[in-house]
């Protein structure tokens, strides 16, 4: 019995160890250099005029439901806040406190393509990945539709095709992955008539942002949103005043997946904690059983 038991223990160890992948932290594998070399976009909200050309270009590029072009010249949409949805990967919002007559204070919102994306860490099947270009992309085939990515995203970006009964998709900005791959700019960047959007290496964009702030300190609030927020994002923002709103919430510098990954990898450190618990319980069970056996033997003898 004891021998069998040990054999089984060994077997089950091997079995479980091979069952679950080695838990190396995917998001800590990248060195910071990788992120700086990755692509990004700098959004200068002081330049944006709210023309919504980027929205139109995005919808066309991603073959989102056809909308008449007049739809995109309708300025009344700015009266309420919008969020990216299954019909629009990007939307332009007007800052809440700006007067209707005032220009400026528009900001384009889309997936931020974080350096350490919470959605990627959360995804149960690795359907969301962060690739070296900086793009966070989604794999339709892997996805099981648990929507944990939506819970995890601090910017509330991924949208879900709840209306689709059979093949619902997680919808969000693709960073025009195919275009980047072909050395082209993302569609929205190319469509912007006032160059509010600058596409480039993240490292260069950070430099550019800081030099803009330096040259016209009156125009800009001294903060590059996305440079350090939650460990950095590929899309970064400049603004004329402190720009904390629903779209760009106040976030710390700590990477969001850090805490859960520390907990997870702590519990599963080389599978030692679970195995130790297994061994301990086995020992307890065995020794108490032996004691009881002795007791009954003694009882029988007496």
């Amino acid at each position: 019995m004891d021998k069998d038991r040990r054999k089984f223990l060994k077997l089950s160890t091997v079995a479980t160890a091979s069952l679950i992948p080695s838990v190396t932290s995917a998001s800590t594998e990248h060195c910071e250099d990788d992120f700086d070399n990755a692509f990004g976009v700098l959004v200068d909200t002081t330049v944006c005029v709210g023309c919504r050309n980027c929205e139109l270009a995005c919808n066309q590029q991603n073959e989102l439901p056809e909308q008449p072009e007049e739809h995109f010249s309708d300025k009344s949409v700015f009266n309420s806040m919008r969020k990216p949805s299954v019909e629009a990967y990007t939307v332009v919002n007007r800052s809440i406190d700006s007067q209707p007559s005032e220009l400026g204070s528009f900001s384009k919102i889309q997936c931020m393509h974080c350096n350490h994306p919470a959605c990627v860490s959360a995804c149960i099947v690795g359907a969301l990945t962060k690739c070296t270009h900086g793009v966070v992309s989604w794999d339709a085939w892997k996805c099981i539709g648990c929507r944990y990515c939506m819970i995890a995203c601090p910017f509330q970006i991924p949208a879900y095709e709840f209306k689709e009964p059979l093949k619902p998709r997680v919808m969000k900005c693709t960073f025009c992955y195919d275009r980047i791959h072909d050395n082209k700019k993302p569609a929205c960047v190319e469509s912007c008539p006032v160059e509010a959007l600058t596409f480039g290496k993240r490292r260069d964009l950070i430099k550019l942002a800081h030099s803009r702030i330096e040259t016209s300190p009156d125009k800009y609030y001294d903060h590059v949103y996305g440079e350090k927020e939650i460990g950095g994002t590929s899309w970064m923002y400049l603004a004329s005043k402190e720009f904390i709103n629903y779209d760009l919430p106040k976030l710390g510098e700590e990477q969001i997946p850090q805490m859960t990954e520390i907990i997870q990898h702590g519990i599963f450190k080389s599978f030692l904690p679970p195995l130790a618990l297994y061994g301990f319980l086995g020992l307890v069970m065995h020794s108490i059983r032996q004691n009881k056996k002795k007791e009954t033997e003694n009882d029988e003898q007496s």
């Binding site: 992948p21 519990i267 009881k292």
Partner: protein, 418 residues
Amino acid sequence: MSNHEVPTPINAKFFSKGAIILSFLTLIGALGYIYRLIYGLDTTTNLSNQYPWGIWIAIDVATGVALAAGGFTTAALADIFHRNKYHSLTRPALLTAMLGYTFVVVGLLADLGKYYNVWHPMLPSMWQGNSVLFEVGICVMIYLTILYVEFFPIVIERFMGHVNLPGLLSKYNSLIESFLKISNRTLYRVLSLFIIAGVVLSCLHQSSLGTLMVIAPYKMHPLWYTPILPLLFLLSALSVGFPMVIFESILSSWSFKIKPEIKTLASIAKYTPILLFCYLSIKVADLAIRNAFGYIGETSIESFCFILEMVIGVIIPMVILFQRDKRHSIKYLFLSALCIIFGILLNRINVFLVAYTPPYSTGYYFPSFVEIAVTAGLISGLILVYRFMVIHLPVISIQRVKYNAVTDTPKSESTVKA
């Protein structure tokens, strides 16, 4: 050790008044379930991009898993720590856990957008070691298998030597008989290994269910957001294990008009207030360290739910169960078990739904009729299958003194004392 109680199939009619009502609820739930599969989540639920998770996750999955904790806690106590007097409770607890987890999976399938991809986490090419959900999924999958293995001896016990298939199938009788015999011998040897594995896996995923929401620090209300959520989830699951066993045992004794095992139940209840006290202390310490006490005083839905959860789910049952004489009263045992179960339900709803506040929202989430119907249907269905199983399989231990079932609704107090 002399144990007079032997698990036996209960001699009762399946369709009692309650069972008919439950069948009705199950039917409505099943229709809702089919409706969801055909028409999708948008038509049938109130889920949205703002609130991507609803009661199917908070109740069917999270609460379901927590309430199935009776299985591993009882197994640990009776089989690993060899507290033999609790052996009569292990089978009902095991059955609850097995059915509980089965219905968790059924409920989860309704919620998954692509339910037909539910097997994906099993593929090595899709393993994602950083994902808490992945760990929960794998653990639940293995644990569910273990539960079926642990339950199989009960099936063997019922049918070994009595396999008698009708008609054409009768030629397989001896084949099945020998299969049962071989399984019986093998299982007898290795069952304890499965039992320990079940306890380890339970500890892992019960806690990890709490880790799930740790990934949304900026969306969670500070009353519930804490890095020690996994510890709190594990402790609360441990606390609800025995109360769930007590709750069920009393309910089935009323339903089947058998004498409740008051001594065993009172005895197993003594662990609960200690666990609740640990839970309460850690919760208070956590709130103090995070400086979150102030949020209890604010008048909001969140603070109200928090107070309700703590007072009804933890403090009241803890105070009741710390008193020895109250533990020996069926009424108080049942009441406190009910409180704790309600507390767990509310806690899971709070963590997954009430505490979840997206930065931008245009309203609140409240479950739709179909969502509620499916959840109610799943619970009713579970109770019905449980009833069916205990009528046909040796699960519940009956004391030799039988209830005199003259009255339809037995007055618990008087009959117990008699």
